[in-house]
């Protein structure tokens, strides 16, 4: 009960007192997650650099890059009139289609943008919708167009103080335009690698990748990996790194634990190994991918791995913008869409998780799907929506949509459930195949494996 009160008061304080304001989005799903207790790791300062701005620049404080200790007691939250010592941190995983863009807004009103999606991602308008008109730090994690393309427009249209990169060049039009845009913007240009620290006011980005003597030829593996601690909430932003970087991080001895994981490489199967996720132990995992993308992002194996470590998974393709609001003691997850990720495990039965379920508007959710299915045997999928809603199912094999009998439109029962059963022909190609389910105007999708 105490947890409920604390959480509700926190919500009240969050919504009423703190800056920056909650972004102007329609929050249809809100989850409060208690944080694991975790002591900050001291920031080592051997040959590593902290890139504080000169003290004459008022915008960025040059305070030491040490994570803030959480308060000993939540007493301050018990009085709605009390002003918290520090404000909130907002981290918004912006829906930019197939690409990446993450906005960080501090209580002091400072902003950092990690990547900007493709050049046609509409990132500038999306930032303006979130009330952002200038950026203190742009991080370009690596020079692929789905990460830097949109940054060109950001640099060309709003003030940017500093651009931080991994220093790895690329011989493409997109990258050349990005360099030109930094020139025109007159932004400070900095290259960082493992062990460097990039402060933004009272928060600090710890750089975990690329390594000091990185020789990767795959630009994805050279991506900036950043870790951020706020209060007792920790974030790990993996950019497009995959298994080789995960192995390097595992053996680096650095703290890679994180409550909130930005999933590597749009959820592709070459990222998010079980060994890596077991060390990170995320409670919340967010991937960024375009709906119906050509690359199979996210891969079902990644979702399975994330679920296996108990993470609640959010994707920008299904949830739209995913916003994390961190206070000193806990954090909230809000999304613009009420998407459902297939086979996401039930959250812990905390009172607030229950409240989330009750308040969730009617969408469509995959309850279960048999996978893998052997050729020649019967597949089955159960979905849940509102009672009495007409639902359709489409199974996309390599040869196109399945015409198997049993896949006809059906109406949900009194509990909102609907089940389809169909035969997987002996001629069906092996692989992971997409299944779309629509109930009324709501859609979701999952994958199943044919062996």
């Amino acid at each position: 009960m105490k947890r409920i009160i604390v959480a509700l008061l926190t919500l009240f304080v969050t919504l009423s007192c703190l800056t920056p304001a909650i972004p102007d989005i329609e929050v249809v799903s809100t989850t409060v997650i208690d944080l694991q207790t975790e002591l900050p790791v001291p920031v080592t300062q051997t040959a590593e650099t902290t890139f504080a701005l000169p003290s004459s620049t008022p915008i960025l404080a040059t305070s030491p890059a040490i994570p803030i200790q959480p308060s000993d007691t939540p007493v301050i939250l018990n009085s709605p009139t009390a002003q918290p010592v520090t404000g909130n941190l907002l981290v918004t995983f912006i829906d930019v289609g197939q690409g990446d863009a993450t906005l960080i807004q501090t209580a002091e009103g400072l902003t950092a943008l990690i990547d900007g999606g493709e050049s046609d991602s509409g990132i500038v308008a999306k930032l303006q919708q979130l009330g952002v008109t200038s950026i203190d730090i742009v991080f370009a994690t690596h020079p692929h167009s789905d990460h830097i393309g949109g940054l060109v427009h950001v640099l060309n249209t709003m003030p940017v103080k500093r651009v931080v990169t991994n220093g790895k060049p690329h011989t493409t039009v997109s990258y050349e335009r990005f360099l030109d845009a930094i020139f025109s913007a007159g932004a400070e240009y900095i290259e960082v690698s493992e062990g460097d620290n990039v402060p933004l006011g009272s928060i600090n980005f710890e750089v975990l990748n690329p390594g000091r003597n990185d020789t990767s030829t795959d630009l994805n593996e050279t991506s900036l990996v950043l870790r951020l601690q706020y209060g007792s909430a920790s974030f790990l932003f993996m950019a497009d790194t995959g298994n080789p970087t995960e192995r390097r991080l595992l053996s680096s001895g650095r703290n890679i634990k994180a409550d909130i994981l930005k999933v590597g490489h749009h959820g592709s199967k070459s990222s998010s190994s079980a060994a890596f996720l077991n060390m990170v132990k995320p409670q919340v995992a967010v991937y960024s991918a375009g709906a119906g993308n050509s690359y199979g992002h996210p891969h079902p194996a990644t979702i399975t791995n994330l679920n296996a470590v108990g993470a609640t998974v959010y994707g920008t393709d299904l949830h739209g913008n995913v916003v994390i609001t961190a206070t000193q003691l806990e954090y909230f997850v809000a999304t613009t869409n009420n998407g459902q990720i297939a086979s996401t495990i039930e959250q812990d039965a905390t009172p607030l998780a229950t409240a989330t379920k009750i308040s969730a508007p009617a969408g469509v959710e995959i309850v279960s799907v048999i996978s893998p299915v052997t050729k020649g045997s019967t597949a089955s999928l159960t979905a849940k929506s509102q009672p009495g809603v007409m639902c359709t199912i489409t199974v996309h094999y390599k040869s196109g949509p399945s015409k198997a009998s049993g896949l006809e439109p059906k109406t949900t029962d009194g509990n909102g459930n609907v089940t389809w059963q169909w035969k997987v022909s002996a001629n069906t190609a092996s692989g992971d195949w997409r299944i779309e389910v629509s109930c009324g105007s709501k859609k979701t999708e999952t994958y199943f494996t044919v062996k």
Binding site: S145, H170, T172, L179, G186, Y295, G296
Partner: protein, 85 residues
């Protein structure tokens, strides 16, 4: 023919970005020999599809040199010196 470069590979696809910012997924297997991420190409686009493409080694080298010079200038902070007058 239009200038383009291979931005990256995503599984079986090569992502090709044209000078006018148009993007195409092109089967990696169908690329001419010697193509790498960052290779420049001459592509022929008809009805919104890449009909043919050839690798352009010379343009690749020119771009590498040009970009290398721009990056060196950024690292020196030439663009900041200018704004100081």
């Amino acid at each position: 023919m239009t200038k383009a470069a291979i931005d990256r590979f995503e599984g079986e696809w090569a992502v090709i970005v044209l000078e006018d910012d148009r993007r195409f997924n092109f089967p990696r297997k169908k690329l001419p020999e010697g193509c790498k991420a960052g290779s420049w190409l001459q592509v022929e686009v008809i009805d919104g599809d890449i009909k043919s493409l050839v690798i352009d080694e010379q343009e690749t080298e020119l771009a590498r040199q040009r970009i290398s010079d721009k990056l060196a200038a950024l690292r020196r902070g030439d663009h900041l010196k200018k704004s100081d007058g």
